[in-house]
C-alpha cells in the first residue's frame, strides 16, 4: 500500500497540474525582438488627464515634445490583456534599505524591484526570456548596434530625443560620464569596476561618435557577455547634468565621498529615465513614486506608458511579509520560493475572495551539494586535506550520488510536482537544457556500498556509520560530511534536515551547520566550506549571463574549486575541457553552437558529478489578480528577476477595480538647483 500511494498521488498531480499551470499560453521563447517592440513615431499620442491639464496650464511641454522622435512602441502582441487604461498604483514590497539614487556609485535604491522605477539600461536583458533566440539582449536606450567585421568594435545608437524626468535631453555624454567617471574611476565603488570591463587584458574603450552614437572597442571579437553588463544592473546611465557638479573631476571643490552620497534617499524627486519618479520617502516605511511625464515608451495606440499613475513601495524587513501582504491584498506580487509556502499560497489563491493567483512556470532553481576540490586554498587541517582528496576521487562522488534517495527526499518535503530530483548542471527552464546530455547516478544503495568498499570505507564498529580505512590520515574515524547551509534559505535548511537521515542510512554521518549569509559568504570567499548545500538560480538557468562562475576560468571560480596563492590549482581533465568550452562561449554568436556547447558542458558536469544535484524546484509567483498584462509565463528569475521581467510599465487595472492614488494629480517638479 505504501508503495502504491505515491504513484497514485503522482498521477493525480500530473492531471491536476496541467490544469493549474496552463491558463494562458506562455510567452517563454516565443518572440522575435520586433514582436516585442520597435522604435517609431506614431501619428497621435495620448496622456493621462492630469498631464493634459498641466500642459494646458503651461507647466509641461506637450506630450509629443516630451517623447523622443521615435519612442519605443510596446507591441500589443506582448500585452496579453490588451491596451490598458490609466490610473491606480503599482504596489511593491521592498525588504532592504534605500541607500540613495546615485546608482553609478554603487548605491542601491533598495533592490526588490525598486530598480525598475529609476534604473534604465542601454539594453534590456529582462525581455530576453521571451526571445526565440536569446543570444543578444533586447534594445532599450540603445536602439540598435552594429559589430565591426572582427567583432572588436561595437557602434551603438542611442534613443534620440529621450529626456530625463526633469526635461533635460539624454545623450552620449551621460553614457560616457557613467562609464569613465563612475565605473572606471577607482575612487568610486560602482557595481562594475574596471575589472568587469577588461577583456583579454585590455580595458574596453568607449568613444562618443556624435550626440546619439557611441562606439565601444574591445580586446576580443564579439564579447557578447559584455552586452549583459549594459543592462539595468550594469551600465545604467546617470544624469551627468545633475551629478557632474558633485564630481571632483568637474568641480575642484567636490570630494569623492560627497559625490557618492550626493543623491541621498530623501533628495527628491529623482532625475531618472525610468517609468516612475520617487517623490516621497520615509525611511523604513515607504517610497511613493509618480509617473514620469517624460517616459519614452508608448503603446500601439500612442498612450504614453506606464499605465499606473503611481508606484507605492512598502518598506519591510523580511520576505515573508511580502507574501503575507500579497495574500492580504495590499501588495501586487511576490516570489514563492520555498516548498513550505507552496500549499499555503495555492490554497489561499483558490479561495473565492482571493486577491491573487499563484503561478508556477517550470523548474528554475536547483539545490546541490558542492564538494570543495581545492587543495591550495582554505585547507587548514589534516581533515580538510583528507576530505578534499576524497572529494577529488570520482568514485566517491558517484558513491555519494548513488547514496541519495532523491525521490524519497522530494516526496517527503513536498509531495507535489513543484520539486523533483535533480542531477546537477542545468534545469528544465533553461533555454540550453538538454535532458539527453545528462548522466544520472540515481539512488542505488548496492552500487554506493560497492564504491565505498572500493575506497576502503567499511562499518567496523557496527554503529551503522562507515569508518576511514587504516592507513588513511583519518583512519578509524567516522565518515563525516560537514554541510554548511545559509540560514535564510529555508528551503535549503529543510533539505539539509531531510538529507541527514538518508545519508545515515547509506552509512555516512553528516553535520549540518546552519549559518548566516555573511558568515557563509566569508567562508566561501576563503575557500573553507567543505560540502555546502547551495541554492542556485542563475547558473542552472541562464549561465550565459555569468559565464565566469561556471568553471575554472578565474582564480576564484567555481567557488568550490578556487585556486590557491599564485593561481595554483590541480584541474581535472574534464575541468580543463570545461574551461575551454566556457571561454569559447564568451564570444560565440551562433545560437546552435551555444546550445551544442552547453550540451557538452551538461554532459561533462553530470558524468563527472562536478556537483551532486539534490532537487530542482519551481520557484513561483503570487500575482495580484487585479493586474492585467502580466506576460503569461513570466519566470520568477531568468536573466533578471520577475520584478523587472513582468514589464511593470505595461501593467494596468480596469477602471472599476482601481484603487485610489496616494498623491493624485501630482507631477514631479524640480526646483532650480
Amino acid at each position: 500500500m505504501k508503495r502504491v500511494m505515491p504513484i497514485l498521488i503522482a498521477l493525480m498531480f500530473i492531471a491536476s497540474f496541467s490544469a493549474v499551470a496552463i491558463a494562458q499560453e506562455s510567452f517563454l521563447g516565443k518572440f522575435e525582438i520586433s514582436d516585442i517592440m520597435e522604435y517609431k513615431a506614431l501619428p497621435n499620442y495620448i496622456e493621462p488627464e492630469a498631464l493634459e491639464l498641466a500642459v494646458a496650464k503651461g507647466e509641461l511641454p506637450p506630450v509629443w515634445e516630451r517623447l523622443p522622435k521615435n519612442p519605443q512602441v510596446i507591441k500589443s502582441k506582448v500585452m496579453s490583456d490588451g491596451l490598458g487604461v490609466y490610473g491606480d498604483k503599482w504596489r511593491v514590497f521592498c525588504g532592504s534599505p534605500t541607500a540613495g539614487w546615485n546608482w553609478a556609485a554603487g548605491l542601491t535604491s533598495g533592490w526588490w524591484g525598486t530598480e525598475v522605477l529609476v534604473w534604465e539600461g542601454l539594453v534590456e536583458p529582462a525581455h530576453m526570456w521571451m526571445l526565440k533566440n536569446p543570444i543578444e539582449p533586447v534594445p532599450n536606450l540603445a536602439t540598435s548596434w552594429e559589430w565591426s567585421e572582427d567583432g572588436k568594435t561595437l557602434t551603438m545608437h542611442l534613443l534620440e530625443g529621450a529626456k530625463w524626468s526633469d526635461g533635460v535631453e539624454f545623450t552620449a555624454d551621460d553614457v560616457l560620464f557613467t562609464y569613465y567617471d563612475c565605473h572606471l574611476d577607482s575612487h568610486i565603488p560602482s557595481f562594475l569596476g574596471a575589472g568587469a570591463w577588461t577583456i583579454n587584458g585590455k580595458l574596453t574603450e568607449l568613444e562618443k561618435v556624435d550626440k546619439y552614437t557611441i562606439r565601444w572597442r574591445f580586446g576580443a571579437g564579439f564579447p557578447l557577455y559584455i552586452l549583459f553588463r549594459m543592462g539595468r544592473y550594469g551600465l545604467a546611465p546617470v544624469p551627468k547634468h545633475v551629478l557632474a557638479k558633485h564630481h571632483p573631476k568637474y568641480n575642484p571643490d567636490a570630494t569623492y565621498e560627497g559625490f557618492i552620497h550626493s543623491l541621498p534617499p530623501e533628495d527628491l524627486p529623482v532625475v531618472t529615465l525610468g517609468p516612475w519618479v520617487p517623490v516621497k520617502f520615509e525611511p523604513a516605511r515607504f517610497i511613493v513614486a509618480r509617473r514620469n511625464p517624460y517616459y519614452w515608451k508608448v503603446d500601439e495606440k500612442g498612450q504614453q506608458l506606464p499605465y499606473f499613475n503611481e508606484a507605492y513601495i512598502e518598506k519591510g524587513r523580511r520576505g515573508i511579509t511580502r507574501t503575507l501582504n500579497v495574500i492580504a491584498g495590499s501588495i501586487d506580487y511576490t516570489n514563492l520560493e520555498t516548498p513550505g509556502v507552496f500549499s499555503f499560497a495555492l490554497e489561499e489563491a483558490r479561495r473565492s475572495d482571493s486577491y491573487f493567483v499563484a503561478r508556477f512556470v517550470g523548474y528554475n532553481a536547483s539545490f546541490s551539494l558542492q564538494p570543495n576540490f581545492s587543495l591550495y586554498k582554505g585547507v587548514k587541517t589534516e581533515r580538510d586535506r583528507a576530505m578534499r582528496e576524497l572529494f577529488r576521487d570520482p568514485r566517491f562522488r558517484k558513491a555519494l550520488s548513488y547514496a541519495i534517495n532523491r525521490e524519497g527526499i522530494t516526496n517527503s518535503i513536498f509531495p507535489g510536482p513543484l520539486i523533483a530530483p535533480y542531477e546537477g548542471s542545468l534545469v528544465d527552464s533553461s533555454p540550453y537544457y538538454d535532458p539527453d546530455a545528462i548522466v544520472t547516478y540515481a539512488y542505488d544503495l548496492e552500487k554506493s556500498k560497492g564504491l565505498f568498499a572500493e575506497l576502503g570505507f567499511k562499518d567496523i564498529d557496527g554503529d551503522g556509520i562507515m569508518e576511514w580505512a587504516t592507513g588513511t590520515p583519518l583512519a578509524g574515524q567516522d565518515l563525516t560530511l560537514v554541510i554548511h547551509i545559509v540560514e535564510d534559505e529555508t528551503a535549503a535548511v529543510n533539505l539539509g534536515e531531510a538529507l541527514v537521515p538518508y545519508l545515515r542510512e547509506a552509512g555516512i554521518k553528516s553535520v549540518l551547520k546552519v549559518i548566516k549569509t555573511t558568515t557563509y559568504d566569508a567562508l566561501s570567499d576563503s575557500g573553507e566550506l567543505e560540502i555546502p548545500i547551495y541554492r542556485d538560480n542563475v547558473l542552472c538557468l541562464t549561465p550565459l549571463t555569468r559565464l565566469t562562475d561556471l568553471g575554472p576560468v578565474t582564480e576564484i571560480t567555481p567557488t568550490w574549486h578556487q585556486a590557491g596563492p599564485g593561481g595554483e590549482r590541480d584541474l581535472f581533465p574534464f575541468e580543463a575541457r570545461l574551461r575551454d568550452l566556457i571561454n569559447s562561449l564568451k564570444t560565440e554568436r551562433s545560437g546552435s553552437k551555444v546550445r551544442e556547447t552547453f550540451s557538452e558542458i551538461q554532459n561533462l558536469w553530470t558524468e563527472n558529478v562536478y556537483t551532486i544535484g539534490l532537487y530542482k524546484m519551481q520557484v513561483g509567483n503570487a500575482i495580484a489578480n487585479r493586474l492585467r498584462n502580466v506576460p503569461p509565463g513570466t519566470p520568477p528569475y531568468m536573466y533578471e528577476w520577475f520584478d523587472v521581467a513582468q514589464c511593470a510599465w505595461q501593467l494596468w487595472v480596469p477602471k472599476e477595480e482601481q484603487k485610489p492614488e496616494l498623491l493624485p494629480g501630482v507631477i514631479p517638479t524640480y526646483e532650480e538647483k
Partner: protein
C-alpha cells in the same frame, strides 16, 4: 531596575544574625501559608521532573524526522468512540493522510476504524540515561498506532517530545547560568565588603562598569558574536556563561551591603580574634548568613534567564537548531502564517509562561518567607 529598588528596599529586613533550625522552621511555616508559593513550587517541581526524565515522558524520539507527517495536528484523547460508546481506558485514533489534489496540502483526518488504547509504562525508542540503554516510556500505544499529543512540527518531529527535551535545555541553561551568577555575585559581594579598601574599590568599579550596559542590546551583540561554526555544546556553554557573567551585579551589591553589616558583628569579630583564616570566615560565617538571600535571588534570576534565553533564541541569536530549547521551538512560530495554520507550534510558549510563572510565585513566596519577621 525597579526590581533592584524593590530588593534594596527590603535589604534592611535581612539583618538577623546566625540562623539555626528554628529559623528554617519559621521560614517553612511562613512559606506553607502562601498558596501561590506552594502552587509555584509544585509547578517548578513538575517542570523539573518532566525535564530530567524527558525521554521517559516522550513516547517518540524528539530528533526523529518524518517529513511525511509534517505539521500533522495534535491527536485527541478519547473516552467515547465514534459510536458513542464509553471506554474506561482512554484511546486515540490514528490520523489519515490525504493530499489535496490542487494544492498538495496534507490533510489529516481521524481514522475511526481502529482505536488505539493508551497504555502506561510501555517499551519504545531506546535512550541512555547514564549510559544504560533503556526503552521504558510512561505511555504509548500499540504498534501501528501513534500518539502525538501536541502534533508534529515542520519536519514531522513529535512536538511533545521536543518540548520535554527543550525544557531540559531551557531550564538547565537558566539554572546553570543563575548558579554561576549567584556564585560570582556572592563571592564578589563578600570579598568586596570583607576586605574593603582598594579591593572593594576595584570590584565596585567593575560592578558599575557592567551595570552601565543595557542588558538586551548587549546580550544580543554578544550572542551574535558566538562563532556560528561552534558545536551545539559550546554554544550552550557560551550562552550559559554569558548569562552567568553578566547578571551577577545586583546580587553582588546586595551581598556586599549585608556583609558590611555582618563584618562588624560579634560572632565574626570573635572568630577573627580566634585567628580563623579569611577563607574560613567567609565560607563558615559570612556566606551562610547570606544564604537565604542568595537562594531567593537565585530563584528570581532563573525565570528571568528563561525569558532571556527564549527571547534570544526566538530572535535567532541564542541557541541554534539542531539544539532544542523552548525559544528555538518558537522560531517556527515566527511566521504568522505558519502559526495561524498550525496553532500547536505555539505550545512551547505556554510552557515558558507556566514555568516562569511558577518560578515567580516560588521566588516571591521564598522572599517573604525568608524574612519571617515582616508582617506581610
Amino acid at each position: 531596575m525597579i526590581l533592584k529598588n524593590e530588593r534594596s528596599r527590603k535589604k534592611n529586613s535581612f539583618a538577623e544574625p546566625v540562623k539555626g533550625e528554628a529559623y528554617i522552621q519559621l521560614v517553612w511555616r511562613k512559606f506553607k501559608r502562601s498558596k501561590t508559593a506552594i502552587i509555584g513550587a509544585i509547578l517548578v517541581i513538575i517542570m523539573a521532573i518532566l525535564a530530567i526524565f524527558a525521554p521517559f515522558f516522550s513516547p517518540y524520539n524528539p530528533l526523529k524526522i518524518d517529513h511525511r507527517a509534517s505539521f500533522s495536528p495534535p491527536q485527541r484523547i478519547h473516552f467515547f468512540d465514534d459510536k458513542g460508546k464509553f471506554h474506561l481506558r482512554p484511546f486515540v485514533y490514528n490520523l489519515k493522510l490525504e493530499l489535496d489534489p490542487q494544492t498538495w496540502k496534507r490533510i489529516y483526518t481521524e481514522d475511526t476504524s481502529k482505536r488505539f488504547p493508551i497504555y502506561f509504562l510501555v517499551r519504545g525508542w531506546e535512550y541512555k540515561p547514564f549510559g544504560i540503554p533503556c526503552k521504558l516510556h510512561l505511555f504509548g500505544v500499540a504498534k501501528g498506532g501513534s500518539i502525538h499529543l501536541f502534533g508534529m512540527d515542520n519536519y514531522g518531529r513529535d512536538l511533545w517530545a521536543r518540548i520535554m527535551l527543550g525544557g531540559r535545555v531551557s531550564l538547565s541553561i537558566a539554572l546553570l547560568g543563575a548558579i554561576l551568577s549567584a556564585f560570582i555575585g556572592s563571592m564578589v559581594g563578600t570579598i568586596s565588603a570583607y576586605y574593603g579598601g582598594i579591593t572593594d574599590m576595584i570590584l565596585q568599579r567593575i560592578v558599575e562598569f557592567l551595570q552601565s550596559f543595557p542588558q538586551l542590546p548587549l546580550w544580543m551583540a554578544l550572542s551574535i558574536a558566538i562563532p556560528a561554526t561552534w558545536s551545539s555544546l559550546y554554544v550552550f556553554i557560551a550562552i550559559m556563561m554569558l548569562f552567568g557573567l553578566l547578571s551577577w551585579t545586583p546580587l553582588a551589591r546586595e551581598v556586599r551591603g549585608k556583609v558590611l553589616s555582618l563584618r562588624e558583628q560579634e560572632f565574626v569579630l570573635s572568630a577573627k580574634e580566634a585567628g580563623a583564616s579569611d577563607a574560613r570566615i567567609i565560607f563558615k560565617y559570612l556566606i551562610p548568613n547570606c544564604l537565604s538571600h542568595i537562594i531567593v535571588v537565585l530563584t528570581i534570576t532563573i525565570p528571568w534567564l528563561i525569558l532571556a534565553e527564549s527571547t534570544l533564541s526566538f530572535l535567532g541569536l541564542g541557541l541554534q537548531p539542531p539544539m532544542v530549547s523552548w525559544g528555538v521551538l518558537l522560531q517556527e512560530a515566527q511566521n504568522l502564517q505558519t502559526m495561524g495554520r498550525h496553532l500547536w507550534i505555539a505550545i512551547p510558549g505556554a510552557f515558558i509562561v507556566i514555568t516562569v510563572l511558577g518560578f515567580n510565585f516560588l521566588g516571591d513566596g521564598l522572599r517573604d518567607a525568608a524574612d519571617p519577621y515582616s508582617r506581610r
